[in-house]
Subunit: 332 residues, 2 copies
């Protein structure tokens, strides 16, 4: 079992002190070019890399970010993670991903471990159970910035980066108006979620403001299966009208599409379909579903730059809302 090379080994081989090696390797100006070159050559040869545990113990900094998400099965999070990783690489930080499984207890454990490992910062989408801000405030006391994204707490003074629920709902509603569709079945998620309230409220308002008498029926589904059931039971009474189905999320879209397929209906001939989505499910159908996209990668960029500002010392808490964009498929 071979050991990794250390400063000491390099120092011994070159008959210099450990301090000198350490300095040479970080291009300290004091070191003579000659010595510096020799040391770096040998380090290269030996594939030296500092022991991160020793460095951290000494410097109290890990140059490592943690991303905590409730679940991995989510395109939105993938693109968020991807863009954080990309940015982090540029700044010389590494990224570790943790999954809370939407379990507040596991989330706590992860936070604790992040604290002990003195990560440089945490990006977190909280679980739906999370109601205690204390662990997060504790991170702050320890000087570890926390950026909440997507699923954020109610608590005011913290950094939050969210998708623009209102804006996405607005885009979808506008598209429906543009297509001049008079009847709309809006399928929304759990009415207790803030995201549901925001999307529903905006969606309804925009349609109403349009003046022309649109008929909007809204229903709530807590799961894909429920969305399927509801859609299935409602479709018969809508089939002879000109109408569209609006799905506020991918989960709901999946259920609704199953019901629509089951009834043998096809968009856009038999009905219009439009959704708010992270961008993968809509592409599985033909024609592709038109949707207002909530983009994780842009959110990631925003979150990252906020993080860097926190690390640089900004203690000012901020809520950033990212705007959505309409991706036109052929379903409406």
């Amino acid at each position: 079992m071979r050991q990794n090379p250390t400063l000491k080994k390099i120092a011994e081989r070159l008959n210099v002190s450990i301090s000198t090696v350490s300095r040479a390797l970080k291009d300290h100006p004091d070191i003579s070019p000659e010595t510096g070159r020799k040391i770096k050559e040998l380090a290269e040869l030996l594939e030296y890399d500092p022991n991160p545990y020793a460095v951290n113990l000494r410097t109290h900094s890990s140059r490592e970010f943690a991303i905590v998400v409730p679940s991995l099965s989510n395109f939105f999070y993938h693109s968020f993670i991807g863009s954080i990783e990309e940015e982090a690489r540029i700044y010389g930080y590494s990224v570790v991903i943790y999954r809370s499984s939407n379990d507040a207890k596991i989330e706590q454990e992860i936070l604790k471990s992040c604290r002990h490992k003195r990560v440089s910062g945490i990006f977190i989408a909280i679980t739906s159970e999370t109601d205690d801000m204390e662990p997060f405030l504790k991170m702050d006391v320890h000087g570890i910035p926390v950026i909440f994204f997507d699923k954020v707490p109610q608590y005011e003074s913290c950094n939050k980066i969210c998708v623009g629920d209102e804006h996405a709902a607005l885009l979808a509603a506008e598209e429906i108006i543009r297509k001049d569709i008079p009847n709309i079945l809006g399928i929304f998620g759990d009415p207790n979620m803030s995201i549901t309230r925001a999307r529903l409220q905006k969606f309804a308002t925009v349609l109403q403001q349009n003046g022309s008498a649109v008929h909007l029926k809204t229903v709530h589904a807590r799961s894909s299966a429920e969305a399927e059931q509801i859609t299935l039971s409602l479709l018969p009474e809508w089939m002879d009208k000109k109408f569209a189905v609006f799905c506020m999320s991918d989960e709901i879209l999946a259920g609704a599409m199953k019901a629509i397929q089951r009834k043998g209906l096809r968009a856009p001939a038999d009905l219009g379909v439009i959704a708010i989505s992270d961008g993968m499910i809509p592409l599985l159908f033909y024609p592709e579903i038109t949707y207002a996209e909530t983009s994780g990668s842009k959110l990631g960029k925003l979150a990252f730059s906020r993080m860097m500002r926190c690390i640089a010392g900004s203690s000012f808490a901020q809520t950033i809302i990212d705007e959505s964009k309409l991706v036109v498929g052929g379903s409406i």
Copy 2:
């Protein structure tokens, strides 16, 4: 910025030595019950937790597993990760997830960082570019076990845990035979991937052995879009026969289904559809697609127990194949 409590702080407050505190906290038999109790009480109160960097520097062990996957957008990996996390928790290990983005260079960096962090072990699904075994052998030299899963190298003497490609292909072929379908369009992935060769070979063999003259046409697609294109161009000539489409993966299924929808065909009336899948895409359609499932969570359990055996000292390299199971939808 508050500091985490240390052994020293506890020792000072209790007027004992650091050694005593350290021992008490790990229930060393030498410590008197009285002292032990006092120390543990204070530690509890102060929420003491050992600094993992110091521990590692001292002991050379991290009790942390790394999971490296090319991509996160994969149900199979989610369930694999989930089951590793579950097992690890039981044994007191933590798990960090890394994403190589299917980029061999990034994969190398991750491996290097795992080596320096002296993770206790690595579970890895390699990128499609990975061709150099050297970094993996190096892990071995450093005493870090590597368990390959799903995407594994050709290299013989290493630990591999794979889905049963042959078995999955067999199940799909048998279902086709059972349904008595004479014409089969088999859509496979990149012919250079071992997974493609294994699935194709078995699928073809089983169909041939069936005796009755089945007609199998096989094509290869490197992406979802390509699968769509190919399916689209071939469908016309098949439409007047009784036939089935077999998709060797989710990616291909997604493309093929788009073409099928585009042509206005519906399973099982107009054609049969069957796939090998991780289990999410088939559920988006109505009727649900029948598929041979490759289950990540069972693979995770197998990989984990192999890992524990490696840690316990087994140097015996082993290849484990997990069997598949048929999930019947209504598409064939």
